[in-house]
């Protein structure tokens, strides 16, 4: 009972809200389906100290119920007047945590209740004092709700406790019409009639809470109905179950902390922070003007928004805000590295994450030092290995008696990768997973990787260091595989309208060594643009402006059997056992700037589909070309502008199913020679024949010896 004393003190602080809430609560208790017109609900400002003890809570509830019952019923009318703008919440007994946004509404409530509050206050205080008095008199600890009602009934102020006959709970009786509606105004507190007792019992039952949860059915129904009445959904009966579930869920998942962030949203907020950094400009405010002048000049970052607009006409591309973020991310990239030209290559989708790819070209002479270091490391590694092999070979030869046969298999010679800025490595590629995240540079591609990439088909996971598990084993991890696919896609699908690029005037002829053709082009300043209709009609109006990759894996052919100086030193011994073909045919690919009409068909399908972007307005349409060989590669051209983009999974289209490479045939271990051939065991006849011969020989020698001994014996006798 020690909790009660604080209440009278707290009562004056919040009389208006509590009182009206009590009134409404009491109204609730009489009939839960009362069709009242605006049912104002206010939450109650619970004194924080009293929240944490449930017994205190239930006591408070008992208080409120008692008070509400005692209050003159005329206040109901005033209740109705209170506007329906209060925050919809059931009050009695709910812990304050469950009451979001209490404060602004409270003020409105209090304002509305200005006049009535004074009268009510007086009554309240009177009652409060009365309670104290009574509680000290009665010493029943109000633990269970039922007990509360006992206390309540026995607390009937002007009467002695009457534990009258308890009517059995009869829903029909309780909610009959006479009980609903507005009871008459009665200044005096009426006696608890048997009907009312039954109602109170029913209410007590409904207010029961179980061990498992604090929510009683009564409160839950109150919540549910409040919600329905406030939200006024259409056809509430059909959504009753969902609302039921939602209300229950909300009770157990209250919005707790206003101070701490929601832990679930943490990664989202972090990402937003990173993207926000994209939007801030480099310098501070004071330097704003200077920077503006610098930036207005040439910047290597292309006009992504314009490209995105044209591709949107074609129905391709990412959304506009995503494109803008990519633009900012490219700007960031340009600031970090010495970049000469830059282009948004496209997006490759992955299983866990996707890649945004930027194609850049560094300024002259600004090759990253890292690249060279990597190359050196690789070179040293191979040298060490070769030297090691040498020593082992020599060691083996010393043991002439027992030598391990050397393997006769020579690995096929490694085809050297192309230099930077040439062939497949003409551009450098940077990837990132989302705009705002740092860009990672992809290594140059080696011909072996391209050759292997043609044989496998794997999804990208989104992590650059993920291994690529496949057969034939891919030499590298996902970063290498990604780079190889980018190289293949670029070589196959980067196209431009005929005439946009032209060959630069060179002194040398077209016939260069090996027919490799020209590998450089420049923009044609006199390009006038081809009308859209013509662009769509014929494939000859488009040309490839990237070099085709030969089956060797390079763009320019290299004879793998040409020995370099190093190899000649080490390979003297190996030359003799060289069994590989001496002559390799030179591979030739279509030269640069070949029109699309020369592209091979895929099983009677044209490799490109050409469309106009909008058939309804051909005057302003854009020509769109879609690749059927690499689904996801698009190009548009309009007037003097054109652009390529790739958005897809990064795989080639093949009408047949993918067949993994079969394992290689088993190698021959060693040649057969009589030295290692197992001889067949001699048969029985052969053994006996040999034995017989041996015995004869033995017998013959024995006879000779006997003869000799006899002779010697005879000689000595003489």
């Amino acid at each position: 009972m020690g909790d009660l004393p604080p209440y009278p003190e707290s009562l004056p602080q919040q009389p208006p809200s509590r009182r009206s809430s009590q009134a409404s609560e009491r109204r609730r208790s009489w009939g839960q389906a009362q069709p009242l017109a605006a049912d104002p609900e206010e939450e109650r400002q619970m004194p924080p100290d009293a929240q944490h003890s449930t017994s205190g809570w239930s006591q408070r509830r008992s208080l409120s119920q008692q008070e509400s019952f005692l209050m003159p019923r005329a206040f109901q009318a005033e209740e109705v007047q209170l506007g329906g703008t209060e925050y919809p919440f059931m009050n009695s007994g709910f812990p304050s945590e469950f009451q979001p946004q209490p404060y602004p509404d409270e003020s409105r409530i209090q304002a509305a209740q200005g006049t009535t509050s004074l009268i009510l206050q007086g009554l309240q205080q009177g009652q409060g004092g009365l309670f104290q008095h009574l509680d000290s008199a009665f010493q029943e600890p109000p633990v269970s709700p039922l007990n509360q009602f006992n206390l309540y009934q026995s607390d009937q102020i002007y009467e002695s406790a009457q534990h009258g006959p308890y009517r059995r709970d009869d829903p029909a009786l309780q909610f009959s019409g006479s009980e609903l509606g507005f009871p008459q105004y009665n200044a005096e507190v009426p006696e608890p009639e048997p009907l009312e007792l039954a109602v109170q019992n029913a209410k007590a039952y409904l207010l029961q809470t179980s061990i498992n949860c604090d929510l009683s059915l009564y409160e839950h129904l109150v919540n549910l109905l409040t919600k329905i009445l406030n939200q006024r959904p259409e056809d509430p009966l059909s959504v009753l179950e969902s609302l039921n579930r939602t209300t229950q869920w909300e009770w157990f998942h209250p919005k707790l902390d206003m101070l701490r962030d929601d832990p679930e949203m943490q990664p989202t907020y972090e990402m937003a922070e990173k993207q926000k950094a994209l939007f801030t400009r480099g310098g501070g405010g004071a330097e704003g003007e200077q920077e503006m002048e610098e930036e207005v000049g040439e910047t290597p970052v292309p006009n992504i928004m314009e490209t995105a607009f044209y591709f949107e006409q074609a129905g391709v591309g990412l959304s506009v805000d995503e494109s803008f973020r990519i633009f900012l991310a490219l700007k960031q990239l340009v600031e970090q590295h010495p970049i000469h030209t830059c282009r948004f290559w496209g997006k490759i989708l992955g299983i866990n994450r996707s890649y945004l790819v930027a194609e850049v070209e560094f300024r002259e002479g600004e090759e990253e030092v890292e690249e060279e270091e990597e190359v050196d490391e690789v070179m040293e590694g191979t040298e060490v290995l070769e030297a090691h092999g040498e020593e082992e070979g020599e060691g083996d030869e010393e043991k002439a008696l027992d030598f391990i046969p050397k393997p006769m298999w020579n690995p096929p010679p490694v085809i050297p990768k192309e230099e930077s800025r040439s062939g497949a490595n003409k551009y450098l590629y940077f990837v990132c997973n989302e705009p705002g995240l740092p860009w990672t540079r992809l290594p140059h591609v080696t011909p072996a990787q391209i050759v292997n990439a043609r044989k496998i088909k794997k999804f990208f996971t989104g992590y650059l260091d993920a291994p690529v598990v496949s057969y034939p084993p891919f030499p590298g991890n996902e970063a290498n595989y990604l780079r190889a696919q980018i190289a293949r896609i670029s070589a196959a699908t980067q196209i431009s309208p005929l005439g946009f690029y032209q060959f630069s005037e060179e002194e040398g002829d077209e016939e260069e060594e090996g027919g490799a053709g020209r590998d450089s082009y420049e923009e044609n300043p006199d390009f006038e643009g081809i009308p859209v209709l013509e662009l769509i009609d014929s494939m000859a109006n488009w040309v490839h402006h990237t070099q085709h990759i030969l089956s060797q894996g390079r763009c320019t052919w290299v004879n793998p059997l040409q020995k370099t100086e190093e190899e000649e030193d080490l390979g003297e011994e190996e030359e003799k056992v060289d069994e590989g073909p001496e002559e390799v045919e030179q591979e030739v690919g279509p030269p640069l700037l070949t029109p699309l009409s020369e592209d091979a068909e895929i099983m009677h399908l044209s490799p490109w589909t050409m469309r106009m972007s909008c058939s309804l307005c051909p005057q302003y349409s854009v020509a769109v070309v879609r690749s059927n060989l690499w689904p996801g590669a698009y190009a548009y051209a309009s007037g003097k502008k054109f652009e390529n983009i790739y958005i897809g999974w990064g795989h080639k289209y093949s009408p047949e199913n993918f067949n993994p490479a079969l394992p290689a045939p088993i190698q021959q271990e060693y040649p057969s020679s009589p030295a290692i051939m197992e001889r067949s065991d001699p048969t029985v006849e052969e053994e006996q024949a040999v034995k017989a011969v041996q015995e004869e020989v033995l017998a013959a020698t024995e006879e000779e010896e006997e003869d000799k001994e006899e002779e010697e014996g005879e000689e000595t006798d003489d």
Binding site: E241, S242, T246, E264, K274, L605, C614, I647, H651
Partner: protein, 276 residues
């Protein structure tokens, strides 16, 4: 995706790179409204776009009050005039399953499929080559049906079932939470359940019969045929099917926005086991 929230949906689904051009979007908005009125559908979904060599098919589906009832499919070549497609029958399925390759884009185009049939002539039995003509429209019906059965998905809680039978849209669906959105079990196939009865009794006890009445994606074969990603800085969860590449499902967690769209060539990715 719902035709009512077409623009927002297209924006959210644009992460896969394929969308619609502005003129198509505009014509869709008007024509789908008219379709809804003419056919008296409760909801009209823009299903997606099948890329053909000559032209593309734009597909829409109409739903009646019961969300799980068989949907009516319509196609159009220009987003303005829509034609109703017949529902898929078994015969259609059997016939069209042999056709491979890209769609042409012409609904009256006929694929030729040569089949060896045994012909009885008196006492002799010999095989004859019979050329079967399959119309592209039939193939279209078949492909749409396959895709729907295999990869059309909705988040858990978006539909609920009443004891009277029909399935309704859950108007109190507030969206999945972030942690739920990353799990495959929070998404269901938008079709009549097939594997539900195979669950053990223990599992069934945990299910909520009004919400969990469809198959979830957890037990899809092959495992790993769905790619779940967060896009737009963790504010959008995107599921892409690897079995039918081109199917994109998006959902903004904690909001009511969700939907799926298929933009692709209409071919199943049979190489999936090699690619995982």
């Amino acid at each position: 995706m719902d035709a009512e929230s077409l623009l927002l949906s297209l924006e959210l689904a644009s992460g896969s790179g394929q969308g619609l051009s502005p003129d198509r979007r505009a014509s869709l908005l008007t024509s789908l409204l008219l379709v809804k009125r003419d056919y008296r559908y409760d909801r009209v979904l823009f299903w997606g776009r099948i890329l053909g060599l000559v032209a593309d098919y734009y597909i829409a589906q109409g739903l009646s009050e019961d969300q799980l009832a068989p949907r009516k499919t319509l196609y159009s070549l220009n987003c303005t005039e829509w034609s109703l497609l017949p529902p898929a029958t078994e015969e259609m399925v059997a016939q069209s399953s042999v056709v491979k390759g890209r769609f042409m884009g012409d609904p009256s185009y006929e694929y030729e499929h040569i089949e060896l049939q045994k012909v009885n002539e008196g006492e002799k039995v010999f095989e004859e080559e019979v050329v079967i003509q399959i119309k592209e429209e039939t193939r279209l019906v078949y492909v749409i049906d396959q895709i729907d059965k295999a990869v059309a998905i909705i988040p858990r809680g978006a539909l609920f079932k009443t004891p009277f039978g029909p399935t309704h849209v859950n108007r109190t669906f507030e969206g999945l939470s972030l942690s739920e959105a990353k799990k495959l079990s929070s998404y269901f196939h938008f079709r009549e359940p097939v594997e539900l009865k195979n669950k053990t009794l223990l599992e069934k006890a945990d299910l909520d019969p009004s919400l969990d009445f469809m198959d979830s994606l957890e037990h899809d074969v092959p495992k790993g045929s769905w790619s779940i990603q967060m896009e737009r800085g963790n504010a959008l969860v995107v599921l892409r099917s690897l079995l039918w590449p081109g199917l994109t499902f998006y959902h903004a967690p904690r909001t009511r926005n969700y939907g799926y769209i298929y933009v692709g060539t209409g071919e199943k990715n049979m190489d999936l086991p090699f690619m995982l």
